[in-house]
């Protein structure tokens, strides 16, 4: 049986969800449109670059890839792709081993909003 206290607690949770929902919407200006490789994908270890494409233009950003054991496998800190100002790109070192990799990114969108995120992928022979 749902008591009045339970009801009030549930209402408070719902109200919080509303407020959090509004806050999320307020900050969701530029979002990740796609990544290469796709998040969770398994690709060949001949991969030479990682990209993250956003829904809007970027001012600047970084992209770093770490592999098994937390070893950094990206060449430099990456950055905004000169070919497409809505994209981050970073080259990868050669001879990567099969395993799980994590790409971590930070961006400053054209409207000044800062965001960060990451995604995972796997390499196979």
């Amino acid at each position: 049986m749902i008591t009045l206290r339970h009801h009030i607690h549930l209402i408070a949770v719902l109200a919080s969800a509303l407020v959090l929902g509004a806050a999320t919407a307020a900050s969701a200006h530029t979002e990740v449109k796609s990544t290469s490789p796709a998040g969770g994908a398994t690709v060949k270890s001949t991969l030479t670059k990682v990209t993250v494409t956003f829904t809007g233009e970027l001012k600047r950003g970084t992209l770093r890839v770490t592999g098994p054991g937390g070893k950094v496998v990206s060449a430099g800190s990456g950055g905004r792709d000169p070919r497409n100002t809505s994209r981050l790109i970073v080259g990868l070192k050669s001879s990567l081993k099969p395993g799980s990799y994590t790409a971590s990114w930070t961006v400053v969108a054209a409207d000044g909003h800062k965001q960060k995120g990451s995604f995972h992928f796997k390499l196979r022979k």
């Binding site: 009801h7 719902l14 509004a22 070919r83």
Partner: protein, 406 residues
């Protein structure tokens, strides 16, 4: 009809009133269907203003199109957005606004809907100047519809000068978030047509009040010829169409029609580079018997195209030029490699030579008269591509096919 508006505060109040939890959540997500009046369609199915999706910061302030309609027997303005969510979304905004502006007799008027964080929606009209901002003249009525392709319909009072026969010239839409903590509390987030600033020289198509009364068939969007009299009537609308994008060099064909449809109307079509203040190139063309016209325009860079017939302006269109770039690699005797190429159209700008997986260039060069050449003594082996970055936003940047330096 007042739309369904849900805010955190209202939801809390509703919850305290023991609204079932599931219903409250459904409402909070804006999924509860609401019965709205039919949105009046644009005259002849053609909106006075169209604007690309995705340039409006938030889906609720991202304008897709706007139009005047007299389908309801009175003049109304309709603003369509990506997602109708009639509330400010910035954390510190005290309200958000959507307004259509138009010139009557040299004065810019507006009809507006504003939404408060409480969910309250209110409608007003008034005048606007760049120096003086928005000056409310009174309240009006309207309604908003939530959800995808949401609309705000605002009754445009005759006090704006929008009386029968009046020309509503140079219409455009502005949306804003209003934040009192900012030096200018009106934070513009979309302009349609155009980008985001109030002073851009792109406008929607003019509208003559009374030119499109309700047609007998309800919901047809009005008959553009119904109020226009016989075939000798003055032009009430000019519709212009042109490609939004052009790759490489060459002219662009602009076409359109005048309403009511008739031949022999002189339409002046002009084209001007968007990034310059140069004098526009103007082509005069006569309409054919069906009211249509077509003309080839020289477009050397991203440009705005406009058309005017009988003093009635069509919507300003923007043609974005995408350059093409071709890279050639030549190995000289002695092992030196020369990298050069062509850019079309021949726009000024920078060319970057990049490894295909790099964010930073290996070399940069200037594009002059459509040519570029990298003069570095030696390049590291690998696969490269050239990226052209035009100066002054004259075109979109472009990337060549890749080539290998061995």
């Amino acid at each position: 009809m007042r739309p369904l508006q849900i805010s955190a505060a209202r939801a809390r109040r509703a919850a305290v009133a023991t609204v079932p939890a599931v219903a409250a959540l459904t409402l909070s997500l804006g999924m509860c269907p609401a019965a709205f009046g039919a949105v009046p369609a644009p005259c002849g199915g053609v909106a006075q203003i169209s604007d690309p999706a995705g340039d409006g910061h938030h889906p609720n302030t991202d304008v897709l199109s706007a139009w005047f309609s007299e389908e309801a027997g009175r003049l109304q303005a309709v603003i369509k957005v990506t997602t109708g969510n009639w509330q400010p979304l910035h954390r510190f905004s005290d309200k958000a606004g959507w307004l259509i502006l138009f010139d009557v007799g040299g004065q810019t008027h507006f009809a507006r809907v504003e939404a408060l964080p409480t969910g309250e929606v209110r409608y007003d009209y008034g005048t606007w100047t760049l120096a003086g901002g928005f000056v409310t003249a009174g309240a009006t009525t309207g309604e908003v519809a939530a959800g995808p392709n949401g609309t705000a319909t605002i009754d445009v009072p005759a006090e704006t000068g929008a009386v029968a026969g009046a020309l509503l010239a140079k219409p455009f839409v502005l949306t804003y978030e209003h934040d009192l903590s900012l030096p200018d509390p009106y934070e513009l987030v979309d302009r349609a047509p155009g980008g985001v600033t109030a002073t851009e020289a792109v406008f929607g198509a003019d509208y003559v009040v009374g030119s499109c009364p309700p047609s007998p068939a309800a919901g047809s969007g009005g008959d553009p010829n119904a109020g226009a009299g016989d075939a000798t009537s003055a032009t009430t609308a000019v519709v212009l169409d042109a490609p939004k994008r052009r790759v490489g060099s060459g002219p662009v064909r602009a076409s359109g029609r005048v309403v009511p449809a008739r031949g022999g109307v002189t339409v002046q079509v002009s084209v001007k580079p968007s990034a310059s203040t140069s004098v526009p190139i103007v082509r005069s063309v006569q309409t054919l018997g069906d009211g249509s016209f077509s003309v080839l325009l020289p477009v050397a860079e991203s440009s705005t195209i406009s058309a005017v017939g009988d003093g009635i302006n069509a919507q300003t269109l923007v043609v974005t030029v995408q350059s093409t770039i071709r890279m050639t690699l030549r190995r000289l005797k002695g092992g030196k490699t020369v990298v050069g190429g062509l850019v079309r159209p021949r726009l000024p700008g920078r060319v970057l030579l990049l490894r295909t997986n790099a964010a930073t260039p290996s070399a940069t060069a200037r594009a002059r008269n459509g040519h570029f050449r990298f003069t570095a003594r030696r390049f590291a082996r690998g696969r490269y591509e050239a990226v052209f970055i035009p100066s002054g936003n004259r075109a979109e940047r472009s990337t060549s096919a890749s080539g290998v330096i061995r």
